[in-house]
Amino acid sequence: MMHWIIAPVLLPAMMAAIIVLAARFHETLQRIFSVASLVAVLAISIGLYMQASDGTVTLYQLGDWQAPFGIVLVADRLATTMVLLTAVLALPVLVYAIGSGWDRRGQHFHALFQFQIMGIMGAFLTGDAFNLFVFFEVLLIASYGLMVHSGGATRTRAGVQYMLYNLLGSTLFLFALGTLYAQAGTLNMADLAQRVAQADPGNSAGLRVAAVLLLLVFAIKAALLPLHFWLPSSYAEAPAPVAALFAIMTKVGAYGIIRFYTMIFPPSSPLMAGAHEEWLLPLALLTLMIGMIGVLGAREIGRLVAFSVIGSMGMLLASVAHFTPAGIASALYYALHSTLTTAALFLIVDVIRERRGRVAGEVEETLPMAGGALVAGLFFVACIAMAGLPPLSGFIGKLLILEASTGSPMMGWVWAVVLGSSLIAVVGFSRAGSTIFWKPHQVAVEKCGSVDDPEDEQGAREVHDPTGGNQPMPMLAIGTLVALLIALTVFAGPVMRQLDATAAQLFAPQPYISTVLDTPGKEIEKHGDDHGESGDGGHGEDGDLPADEAHEPGAEAQTDDALGGH
């Protein structure tokens, strides 16, 4: 089972190469390879999830080098949950892209899609901060390609903005990692956790700077308020399946916050005093408010959904910001819910844009679209989920978040903003929905004059758009996402039990740390020179690895220790 951990990273990478090199001119083969790869990744993700679901932390040492010298992948509950979510999301999105023909509107859609999956999976699984940066870049560079897929002036313009913003984010990430390395002398997450815990609180200015820089980086990814400007244009202008896949990208930022600020900079640490309550929580609440106000004000339906993404990230981070097990667990539930909902909404928006022709996604009345009833129904369900109305999972998620805020000094604010923003969201979604789906009937009646009964109206509609009708594959994809939402609602109890365990594991990181640091790596051959190497820093002490077998890494550790003492 051990090598399976790297499969979600390796398999899409190899498939992408095959698709580009071998199947370049065979559209059908590309599609088959792409879907087969994602089905395999889904199966492996389920396997990994099952493996981690009893609380075991599985370690994979790349090249068999022992941590912290080698790069490790770690599959714990949080990582496998996110990996499974990615796999579950990606498959319907890919089916939609194939069914709606989006993958044929430009070059290399499938290869880029696979690289994107590779980057996301790697970011969730890696146990090394610099490797996290590398996987961020992998997923970003693939997302740049996907973002401008099929071209067009507006889309490339939005793509340039998105790229420049993320380029700045990456630079900031490197600054943060440099600061962290200069202070702690390591970039392995488990090792960082140990060293930061031992750091002298009186002399920790550098570590504080690193912590805040990292928080900024993840906040950019998670579209936290002052850093959210990249999101609306890029999500609204990206091709719909890509925007749906991007639903997981904001969660990568949230994942980074959860991972780093439970393990490396735990809330109990004096380094983080005040950062969460005074900064993260108010900003998250503002994000939620602005997002939902954006929903109310949006004039284009893609932009409306993009703003609801900002709102949902605000909701999620408001729950994360408590940094209590209950807060994290409910945030994770909300992350599952909002990822699936956002993806479903973006796909529905694409159907609406296609069907309405000239006005595309503008929120204004026009003639009715073909097959409007089914689309309207799906839109309605997805909006209920997004706005957090009963009976769907959004309501449960919101309830959990409100419950998790009990005891927090900010509780009143959380309740007021969460409930107030929900009201705004409901108004915003109903305005958009009724303008797009109900007003057209009025318009049709006015224009056609003699249309009295619904059956004639039905006939009139068919004339206006003869190409209409619901294609099976896109509807299957959207239906799957909506069905997953309903399943998430029905099985909320078991899901929450798992997520509670996940949160509990996050707040007791010692097994994670000892698994990563104490597992011996490969034995290193000595190069003739026999010597009594005195010690290899704080790492070889577990006894499994004789001191002088870890010759060169030992040197590195000594360097680190020497530097740490400066």
Binding site: F130, V134, E137, L140, I141, Y144, G145, V148, G151, G152, A153, T154, T156, R157, A158, G159, V160, Q161, M163, L164, L167, L168, S170, T171, L174, F175, L177, G178, T179, Y181, A182, L187, S233, E237, E300, R358, V359, A360, E362, D529, H531, E552, G554, A555, E556, Q558, T559, D560, L563, H566
Partner: protein
């Protein structure tokens, strides 16, 4: 030397941030390149500054330089180089598509385009639309 490196990083970062604030893509891309140079130097310095020392500890060597930041910098250089190349290409595509290299105003453009899809409404935006479809 610390002073020299620190000033260099500072000046590069300041110049980079200034350039990033500009409105047109070319200065912004130059700005991001300057920032990546600054961050590469910064990463390099994060292992402390040492001159003329081997990067690996041997038996008879007591002082050495940290090899890890050098590896990190190499990775960062490769990545930032690739990213800059991609952003230049896409910025070029954007400029050729829209005949305009401002980095803002995506929303206004989208409204023009949608209006432009109806040829009878506005001949000016129709021209832009033709250009778009040709590209």
């Amino acid at each position: 030397m610390e002073f020299l490196i620190a000033t260099t990083i500072g000046v590069l970062t300041a110049a980079g941030i200034y350039m990033v604030m500009r409105l047109r893509t070319f200065p912004v891309i130059i700005g991001t390149s300057l920032l990546t140079y600054a961050v590469n130097l910064f990463l390099f310095a994060s292992g402390r500054l040492v001159i003329n020392e081997p990067p690996i500890l041997r038996d008879d060597v007591t002082s050495y330089t940290d090899p890890l930041p050098q590896a990190l910098v190499l990775t960062a250089i490769v990545i930032s180089f690739g990213m800059t190349a991609v952003v230049v290409m896409i910025a070029l595509a954007s400029y050729l598509n829209a005949d305009d290299d401002h980095v803002d105003e995506a929303q206004d453009l989208s409204r023009d385009r949608r209006a432009g899809t109806d040829p009878e409404e506005d001949p000016d935006t129709q021209r832009g639309d033709e250009k778009e479809s040709r590209a």
